[in-house]
Symmetry: C2
Subunit: 135 residues, 2 copies
């Protein structure tokens, strides 16, 4: 299906929440409770976003997360790549050499699909958290 995973959905919700409350540091627990997201799963997602540098963490009591960049510099594409790597429409665009399925390299839809994917990624790449949060 053409669908965003829960992980990405939660990631967007969380970053939006952090962006809106950027005056203070936000704990995973607060986001979990306010947004209705399973705590453990959200924690993992935030840790992943932290590893990829989209947010910064503070451990201990009164700890939590803050954005590393301005919401206007944070795109949906960034979140997708941080949480799922260079995901692609078809398997053939994942590997470095572009050869995964049986049809490669003479696949008749490889090139057009690659163009299609580029266009879609362009849409994701030009939608920012700032827009989503309408700060």
């Amino acid at each position: 299906m053409i669908k965003l995973s829960k992980k990405i959905e939660y990631g967007i919700l969380a970053l939006q929440y952090i962006a809106i409350h950027s005056d203070k540091i936000i704990s995973a627990k607060e986001i979990s409770e306010q947004m209705g997201i399973p705590y453990e799963f959200l924690s993992k997602t935030l840790q992943q976003l932290m590893k990829k540098g989209l947010i910064q963490s503070q451990q201990g009591i009164r700890g939590g997360y803050v954005l590393s960049r301005k919401p206007a510099d944070l795109t949906v594409k960034d979140i997708i790549i941080a949480l799922e790597g260079k995901s692609s429409f078809l398997d053939c665009f994942v590997s470095s050499n572009g050869l995964i399925c049986d049809r490669s390299p003479n696949c008749s839809i490889k090139d057009p699909m690659e163009k299609l994917q580029f266009k879609v990624m362009q849409v994701f790449g030009t939608t920012t958290i700032a827009e989503i949060a309408t700060i």
Copy 2:
């Protein structure tokens, strides 16, 4: 993952094949063999495309499939909708009233995500089989 399902991938490959060989009627067996797609699975996919009116079938020996419309009038979006219904990025856009998840109707990302989805669907809706087949 942001990925097209095998069903859609096979659907695009099959329609492209039929479009290129539009001078004759094409059997599922031929497409299966030429494109390396599991026969039974492809058959189901073609039957589904037939039910949705994208192709027409002819039973019996020397039977097979032909396109119902010109390749230039057949978009990737048409194929996606025929094979997966009104698929959407988030669950909330699937139901008629737009209310599925716990956050609805006060979901903070519903509107921006809907716009995002619209843009992406526009990309799929403007890519035709004719382009993919480069007839």
